[in-house]
Amino acid sequence: MLGRFFLLFATLLVLHAAFSTYEHLSHLKSLGKPEGSLPYDIVLEAIIALALGILGASLNASSLKETTWSSEMKTRSIDEMDARLGFANYVNRGRNIFS
């Protein structure tokens, strides 16, 4: 939940920084000097949004799954390894018990 909040806040911050850049550039264009560096507070805002976004994405990620063979084998049972369905016998007591 905290991760999602951070991610949302970081997205809004990035959008705000982008809008501020656009406003700044149109301001410079209207003043007639389109060449100018970006004010440092917009850059700072973007970098903070990046850091917060990374933090939010990491917190929001789902929990890690097991990758080892031994953890996978712990979920199996001896019955399914012994099943050998290719050789299974279909002529058994089932016909007398269940019919």
Partner: protein, 305 residues
């Protein structure tokens, strides 16, 4: 109705994934789906479902359901080897074995690469009691289709049923080569070696089974499943090794520190049985008494009573 369909589909898929053969349940759940013609709505899963339902129906002798499933499958997949196998299994249930074997021979003459038909032939031979012929045919089959783990395990079971435990261990060693990460086959190998009276090999393979399944667990964890069975095996082997001198047909060396191994196996099994707290496992007192006196070196053992 759709909620029960969803849960039925889910449990049927679970049965398919885990090789479960709960034929009566599959039939009950599957008949609902079949009657409502959900096969058309299931997409690709429908054919696996129909195959599963057909096999379950043959198992409990509901041949009309099985025939309906096979008819639908044959309509969708004409000339398919898998449908041929299903037809053969359906024949096995009602026709005498000679007819079925002749049918399989004809199919193999037409297409000799259909592995499943060879397996059905061998299954019919086992069912009718012709074990030697079955073993011969199975060995021939495995010469061609080496990577069929199921076949090697079946061969081992056949040999074990005739008390030829050394040959069974040889067959299982091929299965271990093909599926080295599977602790169940290692356990089966160990138990077969114990039956073949090769106790040093058995104790080595029991410990390998424990290693395979518990490689990444911490020292303080409770053993479950394969581990408990393998620790029992280690305990049995240590007991036999301390009572008489054992020679090993495979010339496996004895483990060093047999006493320590014995104590470790005892401690591990008793931890597993003492883990529940107040509601202890059934048979706990039996296990304790079977393990024998626990006052060998009390400081080392710390299981909770």
């Amino acid at each position: 109705m759709s909620a029960s369909f969803g849960s039925a589909l889910h449990s049927l898929a679970n049965y398919r994934a885990h090789n479960t053969r709960a034929s009566q349940e599959v039939l009950e759940k599957g008949k609902l789906l079949l009657n409502s013609n959900a096969a058309s709505k299931l997409g690709d899963d429908a054919w696996a479902f129909l195959e599963q339902l057909a096999l379950a129906a043959i198992d409990v002798a509901k041949y009309d359901v099985a025939d309906e499933c096979i008819r639908q499958l044959a309509a969708k997949f004409p000339e398919s080897p898998r449908v041929d196998v299903l037809t053969g299994i359906r024949m096995e249930a009602t026709q005498p074995p000679e007819t079925v074997l002749k049918f399989y021979e004809e199919l193999l003459e037409a297409d000799s690469s259909n592995a499943a038909i060879y397996k059905r032939q061998i299954s019919v031979l086992i069912r009718t009691g012709k074990i030697e012929q079955a073993v011969l045919k199975l060995s021939e089959y495995l010469d061609t289709f080496y990577s069929d783990v199921e076949g090697w395990v079946e061969l081992a079971e056949l040999y074990s049923s005739c008390n030829q435990y050394t040959f069974a261990t040889q067959a299982l060693s091929h299965a271990l080569l093909l599926a080295p990460q599977n602790p169940f086959y290692v356990l089966q190998f160990a138990e077969t070696a114990y039956s073949a009276d090769d106790i040093p090999l058995a104790v080595k393979m029991f410990m390998l089974a424990i290693d395979t399944v518990d490689r990444h667990t911490s020292d303080e964890s409770i053993p479950t499943g394969v581990s408990i069975r393998a620790w029992y095996g280690v305990k049995l082997c240590c007991r036999v090794l301390s009572e008489r001198s054992c020679s090993s047909a495979s010339e496996t060396p004895l483990p060093k520190n047999l006493n320590l191994l014995d104590e470790l196996a005892t401690e591990r099994v008793l931890t597993a049985y003492s883990a529940g707290g107040t509601d202890n496992a059934t048979g706990r007192e039996l296990v304790f008494s079977w393990m024998g006196p626990s006052d060998r070196s009390g400081s080392r053992l710390h299981f909770v009573h």
